[in-house]
Symmetry: C2
């Protein structure tokens, strides 16, 4: 039985213990442990595999502002909405700033993909779409605490972004300041976001039942990130079965 | 470009052409074409792989009455609701008849799984859960025509059920009249169900736009069935990476 499945007492863990427990989920289940990430960061992906990753991960990027809008829609607390709202702008951009999705499109074009094809999500793996929509639905259907808690994988993200920037820059021709600007920017944005989300959850989850729900939300989120990499690995690494209708790299046509 | 992507004229295809087009989706994309099915029916699955299939497919079985309830909830047409309602009873059972989910549990116990473990879905692959919930959400969020159309994979099911009964009986010790009663029963039920659904769709999809929506609903459904077998193959055949927390067969512990 995994360490992260420890029983939580009815009155809840102390703040420090609970925070530690959340970190343990990341240590065990965050997708930086997945073989596809090791390949990607270690320079072992070929062009088609990198394209497949960028193309599929677009589904996740484009789900983010929708899940954040669900969270806004859930609370009557104007202060909370004001604080949370900038996440939507961070991704969708404004008249003066391009936003995270546009930065993702720069990466997509940098790896040789057609912008419209990527944005249509026609070539994405169905499993990717199901996982990303599960996230949007989770934030729509669950209580505010659970919905906010599902963002807490940001706790584990700065490390993966740093590794990714270094790994991609060191290993791939397409990688440069411009194509990797999405990850660079997230290094500034994520710590602010997670500080707020973590503080909220540590304050609001004030008994064992709520702490259990928070942990389950983080499990759910690590599952949906992991499932995306499983699907990529299955279709584009081993055994390499591309489902009907999904993106086929040039070298496999 | 696949044959099933033919353009549909604005006024729609003729009834016969449209029906033929629906059958073509099955010929190209129904999950009887998936390598996992060839393994299963050909006697190539070991015990753990059969267990994983039964365990994961339970998520799909248990989603069916929920998707049918969404369809009932969508129409003010009492005749349609009365016709559709028996599907829920077929799966959930009644005081006098066990129902399809109970028949599935007989299969689960027949392959050596614990009933409560299966029903908890704790060991199911996250990708399976995401795909099955995508189906429930599809029927919740889409118009009645699309929701009904997503059932039309039943057109292709009798063939797979017959193959499955023969393939399982011929190849596995656990297979007998009792453990395979789910599939036997579906051979009686599915033709009635699909006759009604097909008739409804052929009648209601009376222009090109609606026919396109019907076809997209069937594409969606074949995708979600296919994605479940992709996930099984990935975790339990090749490369055999079981995601954190999912069922681990005895021979791999």
């Amino acid at each position: 039985m995994s360490v992260v499945y420890r029983d939580i007492p009815k009155e809840g863990l102390s703040r420090n213990e609970f925070e530690e427990e959340l970190h343990k989920i990341g240590e065990e289940r965050y997708h930086d442990k997945h073989p596809f990430h090791h390949m990607l960061h270690g320079g072992k992906c070929n062009k088609g595999q990198v394209q497949a990753w960028v193309l599929n991960r677009y589904c996740y990027q484009s789900a983010i502002p929708r899940k954040d809008a669900n969270i806004l829609a859930k609370t009557t607390d104007r202060e909370l909405r004001r604080e949370w709202r900038h996440r939507i702008e961070d991704h969708d951009g404004s008249e003066t700033a391009p936003g995270g999705i546009e930065r993702w499109m720069v990466l997509a074009e940098g790896v040789g993909l057609d912008r419209d094809y990527v944005m249509s999500t026609r070539g994405a793996l169905p499993a990717t779409r199901f996982a990303c929509e599960a996230y949007v639905n989770f934030t729509r259907n669950m209580p505010l605490l659970d919905a906010i808690a599902s963002s807490l994988t940001e706790l584990f993200a700065p490390k993966i972004h740093k590794e990714r920037i270094a790994g991609l820059l060191g290993n791939y021709d397409f990688a440069n300041e411009q194509t990797l600007s999405y990850f660079k920017k997230r290094l500034d944005q994520a710590p602010r976001d997670v500080k707020f989300g973590l503080e909220y959850v540590l304050r609001e989850a004030d008994n064992g039942e709520k702490q259990r729900r928070v942990m389950d939300a983080v499990f759910f989120k690590t599952d949906m990130l992991w499932a995306q990499l499983d699907a990529l690995y299955f279709a584009y690494v081993e055994p390499g079965f591309v489902p009907p209708g999904a993106f086929v790299p040039d070298d496999r046509k």
